[in-house]
Symmetry: C2
Subunit: 106 residues, 2 copies
DNA sequence: TGGTTATTTTGCTAATTTAGCAACAAATAG
DNA sequence: CTATTTGTTGCTAAATTAGCAAAATAACCA
């Protein structure tokens, strides 16, 4: 595998990694409906603000969300809508696995 | 967040995590074209067989690929085709980020 | 049976990721 | 200017993951 191809796979993996955390998937889901400030997300999630802020900066670094400061608050928006398609596929993976499991038992 | 919802996000995250590695993305890409045995993938990837086998078992555990033993060899197949749609979205995330970067420089 | 090939499992260490407290920074209100 | 609200950053401990190497398992053939 040449260097460029390898670098491309690494870059793609980084984006998957950014989504590969339950809290961050929750954030993406919430932001798909409407923008939210860090404080709102923090309350929903129930972790420390610093933890939530860090999750958001990972999503931002991956180019998945964007932020906008308004007054003392920072609002986050979903930047790339197609990531939602990921989620429906993931659900179909889950369904297929569950179905198989079930068939093993029956 | 209730227990069930939390568990669902964790399950989804697991699937993302399974894809969140350059080698595993490469494997998914290769398998999208045609089935391959562990030995073929190992040669392409250039890591230790044990490492490749572990990557494959992670993809299998996530329900993304399936295996089939034929003689002494184990062939792997892509089970869920829609994961390929992920990849095109990931590419659009990458393009958008690169474009932004470029605009900062110009 | 014994030896060979293909794959998986296990043991181990190094590297990465995560959570949350505490300190710091920015914007605003009084 | 000082206090308050909101977020970010630095740091540490705990948990997870990666990858090599050695041992174990399985199928095949002489």
């Amino acid at each position: 595998m040449d260097k460029k191809t390898k670098a491309r796979y690494e870059a793609k993996a980084k984006i998957f990694k950014a989504m590969a955390h339950p809290t961050r998937l929750f954030i993406v889901d919430e932001l798909s409906q409407e923008e939210k400030c860090v404080c709102e997300l923090t309350e929903m999630i129930g972790s420390d603000v610093s933890t939530v802020s860090k999750h958001l900066s990972i999503l931002k670094g991956a180019g998945i969300v964007k932020d906008e400061k308004r007054g003392t608050q920072v609002y986050y928006n979903l930047k790339i809508k197609c990531v939602l398609n990921f989620l429906s596929c993931v659900e179909s993976v889950m369904k297929a696995s569950a179905k198989e499991q079930l068939e093993l038992v029956i």
